[in-house]
């Protein structure tokens, strides 16, 4: 058994455990696309393992298709995560916000596409260049989407629940390592060296799976004291704020302007 095959077996075991925990803890109900992504990864890892062992010549084609589909589902996961974070304020958002989010991601992909070609290693075949170009575009886009999401939530002070934060942490580490590998690969010349660097991505994904196993195995959080006084405090603050918002439509400066 080669190192690649051993790594694939380890990934499959990790994904199976994470999936079991997702179902056991009921997390899949809130994040179905993330759960589907792990199912997809498990299926493709097992199929890849079979193709590696059986020495099928079409392995490269399988790998290229798998990478593209994988990247598309990963975006759906990021959109789902962003939508889940926006849950408390969803009703205040304009209609079609989700569609707008998807269009923005697509536009960002179009902008990144030409820049991604700058870091393609030289001396590669035409087929490999196309594959690396797509791969690097998705890696950069993933990091950009992630940072925009984090920056926006920090700006508006939107909180992330523990599970969302755990998933984001895992995906963040995986994305950052992928970006580092993509940058270092651009200075390499041989396919063997590039392959060796790409193994770092597999190791980072393995670490991410281990982190998710430890995180999902634990309970989400310890409930703290929330007394009736605290509750009434919030009810009072929230209850009267409507009146304040309505009053804003009649600003003193506007009133003065009307008089003038």
């Amino acid at each position: 058994m080669t190192l690649d095959s051993k790594l694939t077996v380890a990934l499959s075991v990790g994904e199976t455990i994470v999936l079991t925990l997702l179902i056991w803890r009921g997390i899949w109900r809130n994040l179905p696309i993330f759960s589907a992504y792990l199912c997809w990864s498990l299926v493709t890892d097992l199929a890849g393992l079979y193709l590696q062992v059986s020495n099928t010549p079409n392995y490269f084609v399988f790998y290229a298709i798998q990478t593209i589909v994988d990247a598309v589902i990963m975006f759906a996961v990021l959109v789902e995560l962003g939508w889940s974070v926006l849950r408390p304020v969803r009703s205040s958002l304009p209609r079609g916000s989700l569609l707008g989010l998807v269009i923005l991601v697509a536009i960002a992909g179009g902008v990144i596409w030409p820049f991604a070609s700058l870091s393609i290693p030289p001396d590669l075949t035409k087929q490999a260049v196309a594959f690396v170009h797509i791969d690097q575009t998705f890696i950069i886009l993933r990091v950009v989407c992630f940072l925009v999401m984090v920056g926006f939530s920090q700006l508006l002070s939107i909180g992330w629940r523990d599970r969302e934060l755990q998933i984001a942490t895992g995906l963040g580490i995986y994305s950052m390592v992928s970006l580092l590998v993509a940058l270092f690969s651009s200075h390499l010349t041989s396919v063997e060296e590039i392959h060796r660097y790409h193994e770092a991505i597999t190791y980072s994904y393995l670490c991410t799976l281990a982190y998710w196993v430890l995180s999902f195995a634990a309970k989400e959080y310890q409930r703290k004291e929330f007394s009736p006084q605290m509750q009434q405090f919030l009810v009072l603050m929230g209850g009267g704020s409507r009146t304040g918002s309505i009053a804003l439509t009649d600003l003193p400066s506007e009133r003065r302007g009307k008089k003038d």
């Binding site: 963040g172 004291e225 509750q231 603050m237 009267g240 009146t243 304040g244 804003l248």
Partner: protein
Amino acid sequence: MLLPLLQIAIVSALLLYFDRWRRSMRRRNVQSWDALLGQLRSDWSARELSEQFLWKEGLTATTDDIWQRLDGPRGLWAIYQNARVLLEMADYANRHAAPGSDPIDPMILETLRSDAMQIRLCVLMALAQYALSQATAGVKVNAFRAANLYSGMAARMTALLQDHAAVILPDFVAAM
């Protein structure tokens, strides 16, 4: 040689930012109610906003007066930070409300979040406009909106503390 170094510097900065954000989110998820109250800015007071600040909702002054009383961008920034604390209070309530007790009306929490976010947006817009064009009418209107929402929330908070937690009321009044 310069390009790889630049790339490493950018990725390192991103990693540091990511780590810092993650830590702050984690801290936010485990903090206590007292710690939240303690985060309200005490180095700037909003009592100049109206004669009966903390005791009565709404502002009666003009946008120009409010801009002066806010002490310009300094007051706006304090309001921006206190609005974050209010949002975190809403999150706290959502996370820690006891399962058996009367649940808080989701609409109230939503309104609270919406107001706090509206304050932050108004402040950000006002500060951005101020950076570009100093204190124009648009800046002052946005500052007024933020201050009006803020004074309303502060007045409701004072009324509640007066009724239910009179012991901590002096601390709160001093902090605001």
